[in-house]
């Protein structure tokens, strides 16, 4: 794909959704020539690697848990990774099929997606296909993909929020069930990307129904995060800031998602900046904040050193302000009818009033971009010169913090530790410390055991 930047006709340029006929016909735009072919080839390689990686995750989580680690003792991070991997394994093959049929249409004269086309001064022979078919296949992957991006971030945040709140995650079972429900629903909502594409309006009604249902498990997750913070003892580490930021984006983006998921409201805002704002907040910024939270939290585990806290706070505050500064105003652009994917909006007098909003967005995006250099510096500097990490700097329960700080082959010398309890015994009444690692058997914590924990 990188290579295609250097070819004469340029890289694939029909948008990431590569809707045919635009992507199928080199006559339609130069980018649909060699650039598109390279795009498809790299996509096939990517799908294969995603599948192999996904199968590896599933097999590992199911077969290679340590002694005592039952499914209901898994940290939520691992649940999230498992569900993500399952989503990927089930949905990526459909994208593979879509890409393969597109290759056939492009190179072997088939008509899966093409019909009744007159382009470049001639009528093409293709007949009987439908561009809508591609959209169905594409979004059958495309929607689960959103959760493939988001769920791991939510999983990381669950862990960080529980640890730094010094409090068990509220409603562990509900968190697992809501992730499973989200994963299931994500397979039956793909049509909400297609309300205005000419798909039968009846299907639009069905997809509105299924789409808005997703708001229920999402709301449960949000309320559970808030309940976890309630009466907590919060350590606002940079990781915790990013995790809290993630949930904030998840709420803002989720609310606009309800608006977009309603087919009647979508008529006006489909393919406008409202959509751009919505998905960048809910799956872009959220996912990235989840990853930042993960990096700040597990950095001591990865490199045996701590990241600089002050730089972390500066990075967090600039980034969170920049993200809202970029994407919040975009909602107004979208409501005013500014379409996405326009090379220049000044071609329209009716959009000239919005010039100042665009300027604000541009400035904010540059500030946000520069702030990431702080992170890059902190990351690499701390890797070599950071303060040496303790064994368990955050007082965390999960077993990775029992592995020695020095890197060893196989992580632990000798046997992998046995797990005796769930991962969230924080601030348990009667316990010696405000955390009890998963490796501590109940027999050693007689004072804090609840009824039923022998």
């Amino acid at each position: 794909m990188m290579w295609s930047v250097f070819i004469e006709t340029g890289p694939a340029s029909g948008g990431w959704t590569i809707y045919p006929p635009l992507s199928a016909l080199p006559q339609a735009m130069p980018g649909s020539g060699m650039g598109m072919t390279l795009w498809l080839v790299s996509m096939v390689l990517f799908i294969v690697s995603a599948l192999l990686g996904g199968i590896n995750y599933i097999a590992t989580v199911i077969n290679l848990r340590t002694k005592g680690m039952s499914m209901m003792r898994l940290p939520l991070t691992i649940w999230a990774f498992l569900i993500t991997a399952i989503l990927g394994v089930l949905s990526f093959p459909v994208l593979f099929a879509a890409a393969l049929l597109l290759v056939f249409d492009r190179s072997f004269g088939t008509s899966f997606y093409l019909s009744d086309i007159f382009i470049g001064g001639e009528a093409l022979h293709n007949s009987g296909g439908s561009p809508i078919l591609f959209q169905h296949l594409f979004w059958f992957l495309g929607h689960p993909e959103v959760y493939i991006v988001l769920l791991p971030a939510l999983g990381l945040a669950s862990e960080v929020i529980a640890t730094q709140s010094r409090k068990p995650i509220f409603g562990y079972k509900a968190m697992v069930v809501s992730m499973l429900v989200i994963a299931f629903l994500s397979f039956i909502v793909w049509g909400h990307h297609m309300f205005m594409t000419g798909m039968n309006p009846f299907l639009g009604a069905v997809f509105t129904f299924t789409t808005l249902l997703i708001a229920i498990p999402s709301a449960v997750k949000v309320f559970n995060y808030i309940a976890t913070l309630w009466k907590a003892n919060i350590q606002l580490t940079p990781a915790m800031c990013f995790a809290i930021g993630l949930v904030s984006f998840f709420i803002s983006g989720g609310l606009t998602g309800i608006i977009l998921g309603d087919s009647a409201l979508d008529i006006n805002i489909h393919d406008t900046y409202f959509v751009v704002a919505h998905f960048h907040i809910v799956m872009g910024a959220s996912a990235i904040f989840g990853m930042f939270a993960g990096v700040y939290h597990w950095f001591p585990r990865m490199f045996g050193r701590m990241m600089n806290k002050t730089l972390g706070y500066i990075h967090f505050w600039i980034t969170v302000i920049a993200v809202y500064g970029v994407f919040f105003p975009m909602h107004f652009l979208g409501l005013a009818g500014v379409p996405r994917r326009y090379y220049s909006n000044s071609a329209y007098e009716s959009f000239m009033d919005m010039q100042n909003i665009n300027e604000l967005v541009t400035v904010m995006s540059m500030i946000g971009g520069v702030a990431q250099l702080i992170f890059a510096f902190n990351f690499f500097y701390s890797m070599f010169y950071g303060k040496k990490s303790e064994q368990n700097p955050w007082g965390s329960n999960t077993i990775e913090w029992t592995a020695p700080v020095e890197h060893l082959h196989g992580n632990w010398p000798g046997e992998i530790p046995t797990v005796h309890r769930w991962a969230y015994d924080y601030s348990k009444p009667g316990a010696e410390h405000d955390f009890i690692p998963q490796t501590t058997p109940y027999s050693q914590t007689k004072g804090s055991n609840l009824p039923g924990e022998e």
């Binding site: 009604a205 913070l229 008529i267």
Partner: protein, 250 residues
């Protein structure tokens, strides 16, 4: 609100322990059921609107808007209010829409010549959309109307313009205001320039303007062999049972 409040209120303090509160089924049930009720209301009201806008057949003036790289053409159905057949194999320099002139219904159709489409105020308008080459999107933001244009398939939308361009200019106090139709599905390098002016005016003004546009009967007829080929495959632009079936499948 609660969220940021909690984050601040329960900041770390060494002398304190967090409240061990792993679950509460009643609370969880409440915040599952309440969103469920709210969403049921949203779904029901939303789908009522959707049903009214897109799934109810309405009588009105039939017209077609046709997209190609990188402009629009509008076709009015004339006195019979029926859009005649067309076929993409008949497209040539004079016949941009590939109209089949053997079809009686085509003869009185009228095609816009400038990059401008006019609509009579207060009239229900049944749009049929189609495209020649790639996907386009017919987006009329001021009318809150949008529908993609798909080669090989007709799509539909209905609305009734209620305010004329002149009235709107007065209202907004902007003498150069114009309604626009713009392309909202990426369609190539010049996608962002693909637009058409929409003028909403009184039915009398509209009728007078329509007379100045090109009649389909003025298009030179294509040669007989071509028409024969095309006839077999000519597509009906009006919605038909067959088309509906196809929409359901897709």
């Amino acid at each position: 609100m609660f969220y940021s409040g909690f984050a601040h209120k329960y900041r770390h303090n060494h002398s304190r322990r967090a409240y061990f509160y792993p679950e509460n089924h009643k609370l969880e049930l409440i915040w599952t059921v309440v969103p469920a009720i709210v969403l049921t209301v949203l779904i029901v009201t939303g789908l009522k609107q959707w049903n009214d806008i897109l799934m109810t057949e309405k009588k009105g003036m039939n017209m077609q808007v046709y997209g190609y790289q990188f402009a629009f053409i509008a076709r009015y159905s004339g006195e019979d209010n029926t859009l005649g057949k067309s076929n993409f194999r008949l497209i040539n320099d004079e016949n941009a829409l590939g109209l089949n002139l053997d079809d009686k219904a085509t003869k009185d159709d009228i095609i816009t010549t400038g990059n401008e489409m006019r609509l009579p105020v207060g009239t229900s308008i049944n749009f049929t959309f189609n495209a020649r080459d790639v996907l386009h999107g017919a987006y009329m933001p001021h009318f809150r109307a949008q529908m993609n244009m798909v080669p090989g398939m007709n799509t539909h939308f209905n609305f009734t313009p209620t305010i004329t361009t002149a009235e709107m200019r007065k209202k907004l106090n902007k003498p150069d205001f114009d309604y626009v139709l713009l392309c909202n599905k990426i369609c190539g390098n010049a996608h962002y320039t693909m637009k058409m002016k929409i003028v909403v005016e009184t039915p009398e003004e509209f009728a007078a303007w329509l007379k100045t546009q090109k009649k389909a009967s003025e298009i030179p007829t294509a040669n007989a062999a071509e028409v024969k080929v095309a006839d077999a495959a000519s597509t009906n632009v009006q919605p038909t049972a067959n088309l509906k079936l196809r929409q359901i499948i897709l």
